[in-house]
Amino acid sequence: MAELILKDVCKIYYKNKKPVEAVKSLNLKCRDGEFVALLGPSGCGKSTTLRMIAGLEDITSGDIYIGDRRINDLHPKDRNIGLAFENYALYPPLTVYDNIGFNLRAKKIPEKQIKEEIHKIAELLDITDLLDMKPAALSGGQKQRVNIARALIRRPEVLLLDEPLSHLDGKVRQKMRTEIKHLHTEINCTTIIVTHDQLEAMALADRIAVINQGVLQQFGTPLEVFNNPVNEFVAGFIGEPPMNIFNVVAIMENGILHFKTENSLIKFVVPEKYIRFVKEGEKYRFGIRPTDITVCREDDSYTVKTKVSVFENLGEECRIHIRLDNDNILSVVSSEIFHFKYGDEIKLKFNPERIHIFDCKTGQRIEKALQMT
């Protein structure tokens, strides 16, 4: 049980003698018992970060602490870290029991104690029935359980999970996700998960570190990154279906500042909270989540009258799509099931509280972009 602290951690690789900055001055403080996700597209530096914590990769500069121990120069096995990778790397000739006990045996712990520990952890992960089986006889989900059991048996201070679900398909994956989340509440061990799947990060983590091109973009709770993305990258990366993001220009009409799309298909009053940030004549990136637009009957300053381009009933929800132009579709997701067809006229209300405005050039959230200049 311990805090994990990354202080100005950098990683520079040399590729054809040219330096490549894989991780740029990363600062993260994970609380004791916290579940933190490192989330980003492939190549963003998240796995490199995990490998530096594990000791499988040298740290170019900066420090990593577990509690008050600086671990930079410690051998991986002395860091007191549990590791579970995406490909389970179980020893095929050994039974599940022996796979889990392998590391304890290496440490020459008495057999009786090993047995106790294995049974305790097996019960926690619900694999007691599998202890005598060989890995080949297990399903993907079962293998991952054994894998995690093996990582946990050493009672690590920090548990590292590298894409633990990405090998599993659809339903097994979702069930395993629920299990891992529950397991974390039982063991309460500081846990870092690396994933490229934003749903997985949202579902599991207490806080998410969104990383892009080696740079930490935002570190916050799932709802913080979902509701208040700091820039267009985070806004687009988090959430499925993705946030609607398109170009607007601020115009003055009857003395009131409006946002409008180039073809005027969408036009409405600039929300109160943005008025002091928005300049007439400027272009902006306008974002709103599909769940923050509702179908309504009456008009107000935030309704848009339009026509349905595509309608989908997906059972649990329905999705309405409006073609804005050749390249852009505006999507609306509603838990209330409507029945529309192509060409139907509808009124859509944009929740003014949930509109996001980003700077056209920097992609920063507008409030933030202005603070920075």
Binding site: L199, L223, H339
Partner: protein
Amino acid sequence: MANVRVEGIKKSFKKETVLSDISFEVKDKEFFVIFGPAGAGKTTLLNIIAGIYVPDEGHVYLNNKCIDHVEPEDRNVAMVFEDYALYPHLTVFDNIASPLRSPRYKQPEEVVKREVTRVAEILKIDWLLDRNPSELSNGQRQRVGLGRALIRSPEVFLMDEPITHLDAKLRHQMRAELKDMQRNLDTTTIYVTHDYLEALSLADRIAVINKGKIEQIGTPEEIYYKPANEFVASAFGEPEINIFNAEVVKENTELKLSIFGRKKIKIPKNIQKLVAEKEISIVRVGIRPKDIKYGFIQKNENCIIGKVYSFEPLGAKAILTVQVHNQLVQLLVPSDSEIQLNQEIFIEIDMEKTIFFDSVGNNLLASYSNVERKGVAWQN
């Protein structure tokens, strides 16, 4: 005009049976989805319709004429694959035109030009004709791929998971694009997928297949609201439908359901009547995650006590997993719900939105009693 019929199709590879006795009819202009998990036999079936595989038994009919002995290239069907396989060095125009310039279908250049323009207009890509594939978005590439298949004016489109392998966000967008195109196409289409969202969104009718057998054929509405069995019910929806055993018990004059070992739950009148008439003592009860409510006080006698097992926010919604008497029940709730792990919680199952199966889950007994769904219009 084209309808497709398959009759009694059987196919084995070596000793393994891949398809056993598949029959259905696809109507003219219908968008027909073959849905099933990996390994169900979907692609094999599509390849049999295309003429690439020969079935061990059974027949394929196009417009009521048996085409068993017609070569694939003479069947007048067009296959659309996942990666569209566009020629990178050719413009959009030349890509679409390529089938009409091939030795087999060679047409005069003025016909090629007319046809490419016609198809490009239908697919709304007429403004892209001079570009190369690398300059196109994914949605545009898909349109070009379809355009190339369309130009031969095939009678039937066969599509094998054209968008399934894209990431979730792109799939959402591409599905909308595909559906938008579909409206303008009017060509009989057979579409294979293992993504239930694609099936529900695109299909006029869905054939659910599993282990080489048809589980159900129906409209999306029928499949979703009246699943023929537990397999079909579980295949549509995520998180999947909760299904548990229930015992029919008599309390005073009323029939109730005993679930999770003890709790007696009131059930609608028509269900009481049904179980009484058929003398059913055990049923399987299915309820979708969005049709279970929760609360922290016992509002009525139908509320069941449990403990919060996990809470997974997924954006606007969250999956709440509740442990009730050694079983896990999943609910779909707003993600800003205030929920503590391990706290006591009451769940309330809306019995009017449940689906009842027989004791082994093989047959539907009743579903969504008394629920008036607005209109009939689940129309794709």
